[in-house]
C-alpha cells in the first residue's frame, strides 16, 4: 500500500488524557486499573475508568448525543489540540474531502441499560427522554464526531468487536487510495457499560486482579474505556523525518468460533502476514510488537504461537492492557497511538502487572521498558467473531 501520514493523534484512557499524559504513564509503567466501582456494577474485577467523563458536557446544539460514550469522545477530541487540527485539515482539504471512520463495539448502550431500569410500570415503554439514534445506535459516535467537527465527507462506524478501531485504518486507507477523500479522521471510542462488564463476566473472562497478560497465572481481562483518534493524510511533498506513517494494514477472519480464538492463532498469523506484505516488509524489519495481549489464557497462547511462527522468539513484544485495561472497540486506535508514541520516543513499553512470564509462551515478552530506536511497530487487534487486524507503523526517513 501507499504509506499514509499520521498527521496528528491523541488518546485518552485510564492512564491519562492526551498523548503526553499517556506517554508519561508508559514511561513510569503506571497502570490505571482500579477495583470496579463503576455505576451499580457488583462484580469483583478491576476496570480502567477514565476520570472526568461524567463531568464532561457536549455543546448545546448536540445535546441529543449526550451519553457516556460521546462525553468520552468529546473529552478526547479536546486533548492535544486535536479538534483544532481537524478544523485546520478541513480548511486545507475541504470539509467534503475529509472522511470519518470510528470504531466502537457498544457505542452508548449504557443509555439503553439505564432506560430499561426506568420503564413505564404499566406500558413497559422506555422514558421519553431516551434517544436511540444518537446514543445507542452504533453509528452515534461516528455521527457525533462528524457533526462536532463539521466534516462532510463519507462517514461510517466500524463495529467488529475488539478489532473495530484497528480496522478503521483499512477502510480509510482504501477510500484515500480511491481518491474519494484526501484525509480521514480515524479512531475509536468505547466506554464502560453493564453489557460488557456482565457479559465478559458471564463468559468467565474477567480477572479479579488487574489483568496480567502473558503471566503464567493470567486469568482474564480487565475492561477499560478509551477514545483515541488520528488524522490520516496523503504524504506531503515536504515530509519531515521522524513523522509517523501507516505502512501496512492486514486483515483476516478465523472461521473458527464466535468467542474463542483459533488455538494456533492461524487467523492472527494471516493478519500479521498480510500487514507485512502490504508494507513490503520482512519480519526482521519490525522492532517492537504491541500485542493484542488481553490476559486470558487462550488469547495469549494463540497470539504467542502466531507471533513466534512469523517473528521467532527474539522480537520484543508486550501488551499495554495491563496499564489501560482492554478498551474493546477502542483498543485498536489506542494501541495505534501507543505505537506512534513508541516510535516518536524510542520506547518499547514493558507490560505492567505481569510478574512471572508464562514459560510455555515463546514470544519475547518484555516486562521492563526499553529505550532504543524504534523504527517500525506492528500492533495487533483481534475480536469476537474471529476478526483480526494488524497495523504497521513506521518512522519517515
Amino acid at each position: 500500500m501507499t504509506p499514509l501520514l499520521l498527521a496528528e493523534f491523541t488518546a485518552s484512557s485510564c492512564i491519562g488524557l492526551g498523548a503526553n499524559a499517556t506517554l508519561t504513564a508508559l514511561l513510569e509503567q503506571r497502570s490505571g486499573l482500579k477495583r470496579c466501582e463503576f455505576e451499580t456494577v457488583n462484580i469483583d474485577t478491576h476496570v480502567g475508568e477514565v476520570p472526568g467523563v461524567d463531568a464532561q458536557r457536549l455543546p448545546r446544539t448536540l445535546h441529543q448525543f449526550d451519553c457516556r460514550n460521546n462525553r468520552l469522545t468529546e473529552l478526547a477530541l479536546q486533548q492535544d489540540g486535536f479538534f483544532e487540527s481537524v478544523q485546520a485539515a478541513a480548511s486545507r482539504w475541504g470539509r467534503r474531502r475529509v472522511g470519518v471512520f470510528i470504531g466502537t463495539s457498544t457505542a452508548g448502550i449504557l443509555q439503553t441499560e439505564l432506560a430499561y431500569r426506568a420503564r413505564d410500570p404499566n406500558s413497559g415503554a422506555l422514558p421519553s427522554s431516551f434517544e436511540y439514534a444518537t446514543t445507542h445506535n452504533t453509528f452515534s459516535v461516528a455521527d457525533y464526531v462528524r457533526q462536532r467537527c463539521r466534516l462532510e465527507g463519507p462517514a461510517v462506524a466500524v463495529s467488529s468487536a475488539c478489532a473495530s478501531s484497528a480496522k478503521v485504518f483499512g477502510s480509510a486507507r482504501r477510500m484515500i487510495e480511491a481518491g474519494l477523500i484526501d484525509a480521514a479522521l480515524v479512531g475509536g471510542t468505547d466506554s464502560l457499560c453493564l453489557t460488557t462488564l456482565y457479559g465478559f463476566h458471564s463468559l468467565q473472562l474477567t480477572s479479579k486482579a488487574p489483568c496480567r497478560p502473558f503471566d503464567a497465572a493470567r486469568d482474564g481481562i480487565s475492561i477499560g474505556e478509551a477514545a483515541a483518534f488520528a488524522l490520516l493524510e496523503r504524504l506531503p511533498g515536504d515530509l519531515q523525518g521522524g513523522s509517523v506513517l501507516l505502512l501496512g494494514v492486514g486483515e483476516s477472519s478465523d472461521a473458527y468460533h464466535m468467542s474463542a480464538p483459533h488455538p494456533e492463532g492461524l487467523g492472527a498469523k494471516r493478519a500479521m502476514q498480510a500487514a507485512l506484505a502490504a508494507a513490503s516488509l520482512e519480519p526482521v524489519d519490525i522492532d517492537y510488537i504491541n500485542l493484542h495481549g488481553t490476559g486470558t489464557p487462550s488469547n495469549d497462547r494463540s497470539e504467542s504461537q502466531a507471533v513466534t511462527s512469523i517473528f521467532g522468539p527474539t522480537t520484543p513484544c508486550s501488551s499495554t492492557k495491563g496499564a489501560t485495561g482492554h478498551t474493546l472497540g477502542a483498543a485498536g486506535a489506542l494501541e495505534a497511538i501507543i505505537s506512534a508514541l513508541s516510535i516518536k520516543n524510542g520506547l518499547m513499553p514493558g507490560g505492567v502487572h505481569t510478574a512471572r512470564i508464562d514459560p510455555t509462551l515463546t514470544a519475547h515478552y518484555i516486562k521492563e521498558n526499553r529505550r532504543a530506536s524504534v523504527r517500525r511497530v506492528l500492533s495487533n487487534s483481534f475480536g469476537f467473531g474471529g476478526t483480526n487486524c494488524s497495523l504497521i507503523f513506521g518512522a519517515a526517513e
Binding site: R119, N137, A155, G170, S171, D254, G267, T387
Partner: protein, 265 residues
C-alpha cells in the same frame, strides 16, 4: 479512480420478497407486490450447534449472502465481505438490557457473544470457512449506501471480488417504539473487478448532491423508508429492469450516491 465493478450475483429477502428472481419480477411489474412477513431460511450451512444459536439478523444475512454467491458461482471461502447493518441483533439486545435491569443481572454468555455487531460476519466466516477479511459497518439509515461505497472501493482499489451484505431486523418492544423497523430485510451483491460469464451488469458510483430516488409504488416506497437495507430498492429496480440507467440512493444528510448501471449482454 472510478468506482466501478461488475455485479455477479444478487440475493434478496424481505417482507413479501422471497429471493432475487421473485424480487426482480415484482420490481419489473411482472408480479404484484404483496406485503407479507419475511420468511427466513434456517442457515443449513452452519453446524447444528451454531445453527441453534443464530437469531433473525444472522438468518437474513446468511440467506442473502448465500443466494448472491451461489448465483455468481463464486467460492464464498475466497471472498472479502462487507457486512453493513443499522443495528445488531435487536432481540438479544433487548434480552440483555432486560436482564441487566433485574437485580440478579444474569447475562447469558451465548447471548453476549452473539450481541456483537459483527455476529453475522462471524457466522458467515464459520459457515463458509472463509479466512478472508470482513468489514463490518454501521451508518444508521445510511448503512446500505455506506456498505455499497466500501464494497465498490475495495473491489476497485484492491482488485478483488467483494461480497456486500446489507441487512436489518426488528427490535422487539419497547425498543421497537424508539426504532420502528417492522421486519427483517437483506440485500447481498457480489462485485467483481472484471467482467465474468455470469456478470449481470456494470455498476459505477459517485457521490452527488442530487435528491434521492423514491419508489413509484407506494407500498415499495413505504418499505424503502421503513428498513434501512431497503434503501437499496432504487438500485434493485434498475437491475431488475435489465435496461441500464441511473439511480440516486439515500446516504448522509450532506450527500447521496449516484449509481450508473449498464446491463451486460
Amino acid at each position: 479512480m472510478k468506482l466501478s465493478a461488475y455485479v455477479g450475483g444478487i440475493g434478496v429477502l424481505g417482507p413479501g420478497l422471497n429471493n432475487w428472481p421473485h424480487t426482480a419480477a415484482v420490481l419489473a411489474g411482472q408480479q404484484p407486490y404483496v406485503p407479507a412477513a419475511t420468511v427466513l431460511p434456517s442457515p443449513e450451512m452452519l453446524p447444528p450447534a451454531e445453527r441453534r444459536r443464530t437469531g433473525r439478523v444472522v438468518k437474513v444475512a446468511l440467506g442473502v449472502a448465500l443466494e448472491a454467491t451461489s448465483n455468481a458461482g463464486q467460492d464464498a471461502a475466497q471472498i472479502v465481505s462487507v457486512f453493513s447493518s443499522s443495528g445488531s441483533d435487536g432481540h438479544i439486545c433487548h434480552e440483555i438490557c432486560e436482564a441487566l435491569a433485574l437485580p440478579a443481572r444474569e447475562v447469558s454468555p451465548t447471548r453476549f457473544s452473539n450481541s456483537v455487531h459483527n455476529v453475522a460476519a462471524g457466522y458467515w466466516s464459520i459457515a463458509t470457512g472463509s479466512q478472508s477479511p470482513s468489514n463490518v459497518l454501521c451508518a444508521f439509515d445510511a448503512s446500505f449506501a455506506a456498505g455499497l461505497l466500501e464494497s465498490l472501493i475495495q473491489t476497485s482499489v484492491d482488485q478483488c471480488p467483494v461480497l456486500l451484505v446489507a441487512y436489518d431486523a426488528e427490535y422487539p418492544p419497547p425498543l421497537q417504539l424508539k426504532r420502528p423497523i417492522p421486519d427483517a430485510l437483506g440485500v447481498a451483491m457480489l462485485f467483481t473487478p472484471e467482467k465474468g460469464t455470469r456478470s449481470l451488469a456494470k455498476i459505477e458510483a459517485t457521490l452527488t448532491d442530487e435528491a434521492c430516488d423514491l419508489m413509484a409504488d407506494s407500498q415499495l416506497e413505504a418499505l424503502r423508508r421503513a428498513i434501512p437495507a431497503a434503501r437499496a430498492l432504487p438500485l434493485l429496480l434498475l437491475l431488475a429492469a435489465g435496461a441500464g440507467g441511473r439511480a440516486i440512493l439515500e446516504y448522509l444528510d450532506v450527500s447521496r450516491i449516484a449509481v450508473q448501471i449498464e446491463t451486460c449482454s
